[in-house]
Amino acid sequence: MSSCDTKRPSRVIDRNALDDLLGTLRSRGYTVIGPRICDQAIVYDEIQTTDDLPVGWTDEQDAGSYRLKKRGDDALFGYVLGPHSWKKYLFPSAQRLWQVTRDGEDISLSPEGGEEVNRAFIAVRACELHAMAIQAKVFIGSEFVDPTYHVRSKNAFTLAVNCGQAGKTCFCASMNTGPRVDGGFDLALTEVLDGARHEFLVEVGSEIGAEVLGTVDSREARLEDQHTVDDIVANTVAQMGRSVDTADIGDLLKRNHANAKWDEIAERCLSCANCTMVCPTCFCSTVEDVTDLSGNHAERWRRWDSCFTMDFSYIAGGQVRSSTKSRYRQWMTHKLGTWHDQFGASGCVGCGRCITWCPVAIDITEEVAAIRRTEVEDATEPLKRGA
């Protein structure tokens, strides 16, 4: 899909053409999913036209705080990110894996074939494209393949959007995942709102993207349009509210497992799992086995789980991670550190959701900095008797 990745907008469309584009996607069999306002937050759900988008709304975010606000213009993508991420569709929060019926000596197992729903994801941000690629490595990037994830991902159409503004909890620039989309999309838009001018500069990322774009009215992009994208993205970078110093971060966290900072974080952390629910890369799940009243029909369901729950690490004899301290340490060390060892990249894309949606405003960027400040030289314990 990156074959014709030009990194430059080649065409320009207006809002009517964008509506036509959504129509094209629907006529090609896609269920079109995009941002819309629900319960005072911008969430992902099915949309019909650009009227369903959060037109004229923006979000104000800070640690533990999220508010929608009127912008005073008609921007379609003038907000940052809501609590949802696209994993909602690719890795559903509850999913039946199989069901089985026994009848005397016979037993019949029915796998879930995987729904052949093609989804078009609208307004995917740069950090989210990275998050999707990171999570895909978990489910379809090793010798074991999750067939339902495979079905969901292989036919997805992604219409990306370059961020025209950054939130206070954003730190994608320091994680090298944004704010400019850099691949992994079919089409990418940059929204230009300048007085009466309201246009979308379009980059083509795939053949199917070019085909879809070809069905709507567009004009050729000019050199100044390309500069416009650069300016908008540069402005977003300048607004970026937070940053993480990623130098040596994996080893930093691993060798600081005994740092007293973890105890301080644990005093605030409610172990509520919000951060893992809103995180676009968190992939942990559990399974539930259920039967009907006859006891002859059983189902196995997979549900999102979180390393913050007490049950998560249970083995006969008790929990491996019974303290909140150990659970927060596990989450952050995995996300920023051991993820590199396992999947060749950070598990964090700098979207800031875990900061915004933490009920007690724990800030992962601040905690990394705190660990770095308080690093103790001899934090690693050699194996010793009675340790």
Partner: protein, 287 residues
């Protein structure tokens, strides 16, 4: 690589979460809380090949699934054998299974004991409690290829006399002239005149050449920690010490995240680890 690029890579789409149905051939009581299931495969032949140290996910109909190491003979894999301790809802349901009942099996998963790398060397097996079960296939392998190894030592610790697993086999192995098999119990009540004390007490007097020894350890983590220390004290190299780790598991294929152990997934990178690969994290509490 983008998500759609990854998804377009050619891949075999067998669902690793789907169990295969095996039939219970026998349920044998081992101790008051452990039992052994012998299972026949769906094609009546079994033909379930595995490497010593690997595990299966066993599913009790409607109750749930648990990771259980394979404890049968890898040389003759029919039937598939699992020794299980009844400690939770799923394993208690399995304890109640009868001959002819069906059980779901996924596997085999995970890494194996280095029985090939140990060829030509002394092999020291140190186990505690039900930790003998995942090591029995390695011991079977060694017995079947006895001439490939030098001295073979099995040190086994149980809580009490009544907790000793595979008692008849231990007696038989102990009777072999080219095996050193020692059993100890933590506490002696009643008719026991054998060794008393933790299993590590047996290490100083066991006959093996530390520099030419491969050690295989399975038991509670605290037991493994002291065992490793005593083996290292005798001069066994870290890279020749192997341990089998246990963590919560829901999938066994790296999807569920439950078995994270530092940068390792116990299900895929383990359960058997070379100690030198995990020594930095092995002793960390609540990791």
């Amino acid at each position: 690589m983008s998500i759609t690029e990854l998804a377009k890579e050619p891949m075999v789409l067998t669902d690793p979460m789907l169990p295969t149905w095996f039939r219970v051939q026998s349920v044998r009581r081992e101790t008051h809380d452990t039992f052994t299931l012998e299972l026949a495969g769906p094609n009546d032949g079994g033909e379930f090949s595995f490497a010593p140290g690997q595990f299966n996910m066993l599913y009790a109909f409607g109750v749930g699934e648990v990771p259980i190491s394979i404890s049968g003979n890898p040389v003759t894999t029919d039937p598939l054998v699992h020794t299980i301790r009844a400690v939770g809802a799923v394993t208690r349901a399995m304890q109640k299974l009868k001959r002819g009942d069906l059980i779901g099996v996924r596997g085999p998963f995970g890494s194996a004991w280095p029985v090939m790398d140990a060829v030509g060397r002394d092999v020291v097996i140190v186990t505690g409690g039900i930790g003998l079960a995942p090591l029995r296939p390695a011991f079977y392998h060694i017995l079947a290829h006895r001439n490939d190894y030098n001295r073979v030592v099995l040190l086994y610790g149980a809580r009490t006399r009544d907790d000793i697993l595979y008692r008849d086999e231990l007696k038989q192995w102990r009777g072999e002239l080219d095996l050193e098999v020692e059993v100890t119990v933590d506490s002696s009540v009643g008719r026991w005149r054998g060794n008393v004390g933790v299993v590590t007490k047996l290490i100083p007097r066991a006959g093996f050449d530390p520099e030419n020894t491969t050690a295989l350890i399975c038991g509670p983590e605290v037991m493994m920690r002291f065992t490793i220390q005593d083996l290292l004290n005798r001069g066994v190299e870290k890279k020749n010490v192997y341990v089998s780790m246990e963590r919560n598991m829901k999938c066994a294929v790296g999807f569920c995240g439950h078995c994270q152990f530092g940068s390792k997934f116990i299900c895929r990178d383990g359960p058997v680890f070379r100690f030198s690969d995990i020594e930095d994290i092995f002793g960390i509490r609540e990791l």
